[in-house]
Every structure is written in C-alpha cells, then in structure tokens.
C-alpha cells in the first residue's frame, strides 16, 4: 500500500467507526492507490450527484439505504437535483410511484445528515467554498465552477466517491488537488462577441469538443456574469471532460502560458448553434434553469411573463433551487410566472426528471440541456437566448 494513512484513517478502515464509514474509507483509499496518491487530505465541503431516482434506480437506492444504516456526514454535504419538485410534483405530471421512490432517496440522504438541497448550483445557496479550499464535489458543472470560478480544489467525483468523502471527511490527494496538475494545456483565443447565457453555452460546447480533458486557457472575453459562467461550465464539462479552465481577467487561478494556441471565431459559434438546432424541431417544451436559475434570471423571466399567457400546447419549466424558489415567492415572481401558465420548479431539472415521451421539442438557453434532451429523452432541440425562449413560450 502506497497511500500513507493516519491512525484515524486506519481506524475508519478497520471498521471502528462503523460499517458505512469502513466502506467509504475503502473507496477513498482504493482511488488513492489507483491514482498514486501519497496521503489523504481533509475536505470541508461535499456535493453529491446521483439523486434522481430516474438515474439511480432501485439498486442505487438500496446502496444508499445500506450506507444510511450507520453512516453520518462529517462535513457540509449538499445534494444534486432530484427527478421532481419535492413538494409540487403532482401538478408537473410526475407519477405517484416515482414520487414515492424519489422521496425514499432523499430521506436516505437526510438520514445520513446530508442537507437535501437538491440543486446543481450549491454555490448559489450556501455551499460556497473559498479560494484554495479542498473539497470533494460531484456534478460536473459545479466541479468546473468550483475549480475555475471560485478557485477551490476538487476532482470530478462520482456519486459514491463523493458520499465516501462526506462520511469520512477525506479524499485522496491526487489530480486537481495538486497544483502541478492545474496548469493550462491549450490556449483558446476568443474572437467572437458573447453577450448571453446561450452564447457562453455554445462557447463551452466548442471548447469542450476541441479540448477533451485538456485544461484550457481562454482569452479575449471582456466580461462575464455569474449566470454566463455557470452556463459555460455546464457546457464545457458536458461536451468535453473539462473540470477546470482559466479565463484571462475573470477567473482567479494563475497558470503558465501553454504552447498550443487555437482561435475560436464567430463562424465557429454559428456552426455550434446550427449543430444544436434541429430544423424539424416542433417546440412544445421550454426550459430555463440548466444549471439551476439564479434569482436574477427568475426576476427576468417574471418580467417577461408579466400579464402574458403561455401558448396552448406548450409547457414551460423554470428550474431552480428551493431557497431561490422561496425567495421568488417572497418577491412575487412565483405568482407572476405561475399565473402565466409556466411552472417554477424547484429541486429538479429537465435533464434528470422522467420526461421521456412527454414532449417532442425543447427550446432552452442551455447547451447542456440540449445534450441530455437529445441523448436521454430523444427530444429535438433549439438553443436561443432566455428572452427568445420566453417569447416562444407566449407566441
């Protein structure tokens, strides 16, 4: 065994902290050995993926129930989206059977002390690490945001390995926990105007597809909002395997200049948009909030929907985290959105909800949402700005 363990690590591995902690420590140590870690390090925050019953299935749930028998989190741990709004699922057309099973999943996490946030944007609602902090996050878009925009350090964890870090408070020190593995490998110079979340999503798609797992340094972007960056993160992590990028003048990490340099042009953006637009798309589903919408985005949607009605035959989901929905209720945005016939859906998103067969075509401002709509749900897609999506909804 190469990984050097502390006496507490060993005690966990020997089962002195119970069965679940032992299994969790086995996972951490084995991953450490596979990747050549020399030691385990403490983490201060965990984000767990694999929450929707739709993805997890009965087997995943059984595993969680087994771990929940005696497992307890040791650090702040939050959850990825579930397959439904945990309160208002019925009016969104979710079946009773699915709802019961989804509740069992969330209850199992709660039993372990996980804060059952059910959002892919933990950093917007209270799980916000600081620069230089070691964390163990799953959810590829949040991993990318934490590493790149915040400057925390995490590998791209899976559901079970993130849970293992939650129960032990540890991760193995390899990959992106080491500074030497965080340098940029390819420089992308952006020579195209970018003004909206969909544009940043398309840029993420282009760079993701070109770069694969190589860490990009991106230059030529003057300004970017938090909403645009979360869209970019989701997309670059979906279309490539990118867990970290550097954006000159915008993100806080320092890097050396890579040798390889490429240019992204306006023509590339137009081509990327074309690739996500199905000509024969018949749009009956409009969704904003992949990753989960911020309060600013919800305010904008409410402004656009005020006094309007969603057209017949169209369904609109604005997906967000529960605390953001509560805030939207307090601010009156929720009533405006729901009175138009659109839904403000918390806890869930259009990528993990059981939606297959319900719609034909999705319009969204998210390149990531297009990817899952096509792959998992067999929907046709069109990517537009947030304003254009809402215009389509009420047309």
């Amino acid at each position: 065994m190469r990984v050097v363990l502390t006496s507490e690590d060993k005690a966990m591995l020997d089962g002195k902290y119970g069965k679940a902690t032992k299994k969790a420590m086995e996972i951490i140590v084995t991953l450490g050995e596979i990747y050549g870690a020399e030691r385990l390090i403490p983490v201060s925050s965990v984000q767990i993926a694999g929450v929707s019953y739709h993805n997890l299935g009965e087997a995943g749930l059984e595993y969680l129930l087994e771990m929940a028998e005696d497992g307890q989190t040791r650090v702040l741990t939050t959850l990825n989206p579930a397959g439904m709004d945990m309160d208002e699922w019925k009016k969104h057309g979710i079946s009773e059977e699915f709802a019961v099973n989804q509740q069992r999943v969330v209850d199992a996490f709660a039993q372990m002390g996980v804060v059952t946030t059910c959002t892919c944007t933990p950093y917007l609602i209270g799980n916000l690490p600081h620069y230089g902090e070691h964390i163990a996050w799953a959810e590829s878009s949040a991993v990318c945001f934490a590493n790149s925009v915040i400057g925390a350090l995490t590998n791209r964890e899976g559901g079970p390995s993130a849970l293992a870090s939650a129960l032990t408070g540890k991760t193995a020190e390899y990959g992106l926990h080491l500074q030497k593995n965080r340098e940029a490998e390819v420089h992308y110079e952006i020579r195209a105007p970018l003004h909206s979340t969909d544009g940043f999503g398309l840029l993420g798609q282009i760079i993701g597809e070109r770069t694969g797992k190589a860490i990009p340094l991106i230059s030529g972007i003057q300004t970017a909002t938090t909403e645009q960056l979360k869209s970019f993160c989701a997309s670059v992590a979906t279309y490539g395997g990118v867990p970290l990028f550097h954006m000159e003048g915008i993100t806080p990490n320092r890097t050396t200049e890579p040798e390889r340099k490429e240019v992204v042009t306006e023509d590339n953006l137009i081509a990327a948009r074309k690739a996500l637009d199905d000509e024969d798309a018949e749009i009956d589903f409009i969704s904003i909030g992949c990753p989960h919408a911020s309060i600013k985005e919800i305010a904008k949607v409410a402004e656009l929907l005020k006094g309007k009605k969603v057209a017949e035959g169209k369904t609109v989901w604005i997906t967000t985290a529960r605390p953001t929905k509560d805030l939207a209720i307090k601010m009156g945005y929720y009533d405006v959105i729901e009175e138009s016939g659109a839904f403000l859906v918390s806890d869930a998103c259009c990528a993990v909800a059981p939606l297959k067969g319900r719609f034909k075509g999705l319009m969204t401002d998210s390149a990531k949402a297009c990817f899952y709509a096509r792959g998992k749900n067999k929907f046709r897609t069109e990517i537009r700005t947030l304003d254009e999506c809402i215009e389509k909804a009420i047309a």
Binding site: K23, E26, I27, T30, L31, E33, I34, A49, G50, N55, L56, G57, E58, A59, G60, E62, Y63, A138, E157, G158, G159, P160, S161
Partner: protein
C-alpha cells in the same frame, strides 16, 4: 498452470470461466442491471451475460452511475464472480468495492481467452489460468 501478477483493487477469491473482450465496458446503459446481459449496440459481448463469469476487459467507461449497476447485479445474484482489467477505472473500482467483487488490474489480458478456467486471488493480485 500460468500465473500472472497484478494489483489488488478489491480483495477476495474466485474461480470460474473467463469472458474476455478487447473493448471497454460501460455498465450504465451498457449492461442490463437485472440479467447481466451486455446490451450496448455493436459491443463484442452484445447479447452475452457477465453473470457468473470472470469478466476480463481493458477498462471501464461512461457514467459514474455504472458503479450502482454492479451493485444491482450483485443483489440480483447476477454479478460477475471476479473482474480483471488492464487498468481499472474509478467507476468499476467503486462498483467492485461496494458490491464486494474480487478485482485485479495491471494484468496483460491479451494472454487470457474466453472459456479458459481462471482462479483469482485478489488479495495477492494473482490470476492463474488452470
């Protein structure tokens, strides 16, 4: 009897028939969690079941939910008896740990053919062709 030495991923002993592929396996979406049948279109093992075999493949690919598929197979009594890889990826490694399937990597899998009788002693990282 030929012996090969590799690295323990998860301990335990197993003996059985080898099922070998040169292609990577994605358990999520690529393997039926109830029957153990490989269902990935165009895969070398499409239509064959991993159940009750010593499954030999280069490495895993695909979603991290794949770990739970191995767990489902174990619960259904349809899991492979053991796993041998060129290089085990995290999804399969975690799947073997949570399902307690003996697993070894760093083995030259080109030396193993489907149908051969294998013994694995994962604690010591040893694979024997009987």
């Amino acid at each position: 009897m030929t012996e090969m030495k590799g690295r323990k991923i998860f301990g335990g002993k197993a003996a059985g028939q080898a099922l070998v592929t040169k292609q990577d396996i994605s358990f999520y979406g690529g393997c039926d969690p109830e029957t153990g049948e490989i269902v990935e279109k165009g895969h070398e093992l499409e239509g064959q079941s991993v159940s009750g075999k010593i499954l030999v493949f280069p490495t895993g690919k695909g979603s991290t939910v794949g770990s739970y598929v191995l767990y489902a197979l174990k619960k259904a009594g349809k899991a492979p008896l053991g796993i041998i890889n060129t290089s085990t990826d995290p999804v399969v490694a975690v799947g073997c740990i949570i399902s307690e399937i003996p697993a070894i990597d760093q083995i030259e899998i080109e030396n193993i053919s489907s149908g051969q009788k294998l013994k694995i002693d994962a604690d010591n990282g040893v694979v024997s062709i009987v």
